[in-house]
Amino acid sequence: MVLSWIWTLMVLLSILCALFQGTGGALAGAAMQGAQAGVTLAISMAGSICLWSGAGKLMERVGITAMLSRLLRPLLHRVFPSTKKDPILAGNLSANICANFLGLGNAATPMGIRAAKGMNKDGAATNELCRLIVLNTASIQLIPANVAAVRGSLGCAAPFDILPAVWITSLLSAGLGVAAAWLLGKVWPK
């Protein structure tokens, strides 16, 4: 529903802007070109997306996810203290974080939701639930496959040269986001 509003607003904005700046002649052509560009972009990303879905599935199957969650355990206990007493919650949470890390968004969400359900208290978000969601909205990803696919499709010779920048950026944004949530949790009314 949100997208219906956004899409209509985008089109309205471009019509108003075209009227204002006299660029109306190009508008209809641009609409057709845009539609075609959508197909072209999707097809040029196809190879990368298929490859990484395959690699991600294999990483999950051979137990890289389980290995990561063992490494993650100490950190998990700090950010989500109730995982110390609740091993099922701990399992769901670390599976959620690891699947996100490997770029398996579709696999991450159900596990995250299972963890979230265990944290809901009378319809209000607990501090731990707020932190879980902030962590999920900040995306820490090993291989940002979609972006690399777009870069590759535009003829970039080294589509993965942005990896160090992506890692630094997402670690900091997740870290500071969780820190902000922790601070807000101290002052925000229940």
Binding site: L41, C130, T137, C156, S170, L172, G177
Partner: protein, 169 residues
């Protein structure tokens, strides 16, 4: 050095799978075909959203948006050209991908603006979508401070994307 990350990751994953007597190739094949259906589900939204993005660009609205926001963006060292991407990123993932791809194409995939757009896309999430999915499924009515904290994390992402691209390239 970073050129070896991906090839080595692919090799070790397959090698570990072989060591565990798993059918590495078959599992990857299965994942790849799942990727294809994922692609099928995002293609229609890319078509619709790029239609709107191209119209916005042809009408001059994108430039206007960057121009209006450029004082705020320059203050934090974020390229003002990325304004449309920053605005759409927390709301829609496919729209952000469409806008980001356009930025990379227009300014060059290896330009500083193109790289910043790529890092922004790779290190942030569709915040509002994620919040609504999680709180909806968990039956939470009061989100408390989640939205400000998540938007702060997004801001750090946009800011750091600009900063890391400036220093690493």
């Amino acid at each position: 050095m970073s050129g070896y990350i991906v090839p080595l990751l692919l090799f070790f994953t397959a090698a570990i799978a072989l060591g565990k007597q798993e059918n590495a190739y078959g599992i990857m094949l299965q994942g790849a075909s799942e990727g294809l259906s994922l692609l099928g589900s995002i293609l229609p939204s890319l078509v619709l959203l790029l239609t709107a993005v191209y119209m916005l660009r042809a009408s001059g609205a994108m430039e206007l948006m960057s121009l209006a926001l450029s004082p705020v963006f320059s203050l934090f060292g974020i390229p003002p050209e990325t304004a449309p991407l920053v605005l759409i990123r927390p709301i829609s993932g496919s729209a952000a991908l469409a806008v980001g791809a356009e930025l990379m194409k227009e300014y060059g995939v290896d330009s500083s603006i193109g790289r910043t757009a790529a890092v922004m896309l790779g290190s942030t999430e569709t915040t509002f979508y994620t919040i609504s999915v999680y709180f909806g499924a968990a039956g939470v009515k009061s989100t408390r401070y989640t939205i400000p904290a998540a938007l702060f994390a997004d801001f750090v992402g946009f800011f750091m994307a600009s900063l890391t691209v400036r220093f690493l390239f």
